[in-house]
């Protein structure tokens, strides 16, 4: 292996070694902590990690051609990623747990920025709300329980800093190597709908809202069954990669929906028309909710949660209840020393 600086393997090894050494020097201990060197090493490691990602995978949020790089999105990605990693580093190496909690708040804000880039606005809001409460409670616990004025075992010592840093960053190196050796050429599955079809389906939704169910159904038929602009229909495009079981299931579901909906519309019965219009809406949601995200994030996430993951939602609620009962049962005892039989 030649020592080429653009070799991604070399960059990967360098990034993990620099980061691991930096964290090792930064971890709190009574003797031998080297803050300036540790910070320098960590920053060099982060730069090398960014260089590895760019060398191997190109710019984030970039189009397939180099002319259409999304500079704003890329800049925001680097900002939030660097923020998350820097403040995570502060949390891990900070002696004062109150400052660690503040650093964790900034980690949450940075990862919420990444959530927005990943088209998850609802999850971003939920994370900020939940973790704001969690961090405030943590902060209160630090103020109540922790003594940060004098040196103490819990804040000024680390358990095996060398072995710990080695384990964590060896893990990171292995994961990054797996990413490196994966097939990264594909830019993701083809979008389900072209932009023209998406516009026409959105038109169909507005027609449905206006009460013109027949026009809406004709528009949907145009898009999904007849050829739009001489291109293959959605069903034909999907059939070309129906080796994927999820795509095949989706295809079967949508074809079934289309058949039953169209049959009801052709019955020309006024009483059934309103029922058909109601049935057309979930079909449109199935199409518009797939492909490009964010597509009506909150509404579609709700649909997914309460249809596909209904049992899991119930389980999560039960888990929260059990955890609440457990927390009250554990923390509710006033004086545990008196309960120990003499």
């Amino acid at each position: 292996m030649s020592l080429d600086i653009n070799n991604p393997i070399l960059q990967l090894i360098l990034a993990t070694m620099l980061g691991g050494l930096g964290v090792f020097f930064l971890l709190p201990r009574p003797r031998g902590r080297w803050v300036a060197g540790g910070v320098a090493l960590v920053l060099c490691g982060m730069g090398t990690l960014a260089a590895f990602l760019i060398t191997r995978f190109g710019q984030p949020l970039a189009a397939s051609d180099a002319a259409n790089i999304d500079w704003v999105g890329s800049g925001l990605f680097w900002l939030f990623a660097a923020g998350a990693i820097v403040f995570g580093m502060v949390l891990v190496t900070q002696r004062n747990p109150a400052r660690g909690a503040i650093a964790f708040a900034f980690v949450i804000l940075s990862t919420c920025g990444l959530f927005l880039l990943l088209a998850a606005p609802f999850l971003m809001a939920a994370t900020i709300i939940i973790y704001a409460g969690a961090i405030i409670v943590t902060f209160l616990f630090v103020l109540m329980l922790s003594n940060v004025r004098t040196a103490s075992d819990e804040n000024d010592r680390s358990r095996e800093p060398l072995l710990g840093a080695l384990a964590g960053f060896a893990f990171l190196g292995l994961v990054l190597f797996t990413l490196h050796s994966s097939e990264a050429d594909s830019t993701g599955p083809e979008a389900l709908l072209t932009s023209i079809e998406r516009v026409r389906l959105t038109e169909a939704v507005s027609k449905l809202d206006a009460g013109e169910a027949d026009e809406a159904n004709n528009l949907v038929n145009d898009v999904l069954v007849n050829r739009v602009d001489g291109k293959p229909t959605v069903a034909q495009r999907l059939a070309s990669h129906d080796a994927d079981p999820r795509v095949a299931a989706f295809l079967a579901q949508t074809i079934e929906l289309r058949k039953s909906n169209d049959k009801v519309f052709n019955a020309q019965n006024a009483a059934d028309k309103s029922k058909a219009a109601a049935a057309l809406r979930p079909e449109l949601i199935v199409y518009l909710g797939n492909g490009h995200l964010p597509a009506r994030n909150v509404a579609n996430l709700g649909t997914v949660l309460y249809s596909e993951y209904l049992l899991a939602v119930e389980m999560a609620g039960t888990l929260l209840l059990v955890a609440t009962v457990g927390a009250v049962a554990i923390a509710g005892r006033r004086n545990p020393a008196k309960e120990v039989p003499a």
């Binding site: 710019q59 949020l61 964590g168 596909e308």
Partner: protein, 143 residues
């Protein structure tokens, strides 16, 4: 077009950082925050894969991870409170008597630095008239 790999790299880095912190730090609250850091890395991975495949399943899974994290936070705080009431400490090393049998106890070789000693208080000489004393309360005194 979104690229999956950069987000996977960031998620893996956050997970590794949290792992290092959880393995090495001894303050129970810091260890808890490091576990939350690992969960954040996992959620970024889930959302990145969901975005890559154009489905909402990743976001649903992310919501469940946050739910479990909330349960974990509540139970962890209750346990910390109990442990603090028993031992008046947040040091996880003080609970090492519950370790596996046959594992030697971890000891701290290097002593902690002593806190800087305060100067002894300097009291003014009693029985003197105030104008006879130039500076009755020296600035170094905290009294």
């Amino acid at each position: 077009m979104i690229t999956l790999w950069h987000f996977l790299g960031v998620g893996a880095t956050l997970f590794a950082l949290g792992l290092v912190g959880f393995l090495t730090r001894r303050n129970l609250i810091t260890m808890f925050l490091c576990a939350e850091l690992m969960l954040q890395g996992v959620v970024i991975n889930l959302l990145a894969f969901g975005r890559f495949h154009g489905t909402l399943s990743g976001q649903a899974m992310g919501l469940f991870v946050i739910t479990v994290a909330a349960c974990e936070a509540g139970l962890a705080m209750a346990l910390f409170l109990m442990l603090y009431r028993r031992g008046k400490t947040l040091d996880s090393g003080d609970w090492q008597q519950v370790r596996e049998t046959g594992v030697p106890a971890a000891t701290d070789a290097v002593p902690l630095p002593l806190p800087p000693a305060d100067d002894e208080p300097k009291l003014p000489v009693p029985g003197l008239r105030p104008e006879q004393v130039a500076a009755p309360f020296p600035e170094s005194s905290r009294a």
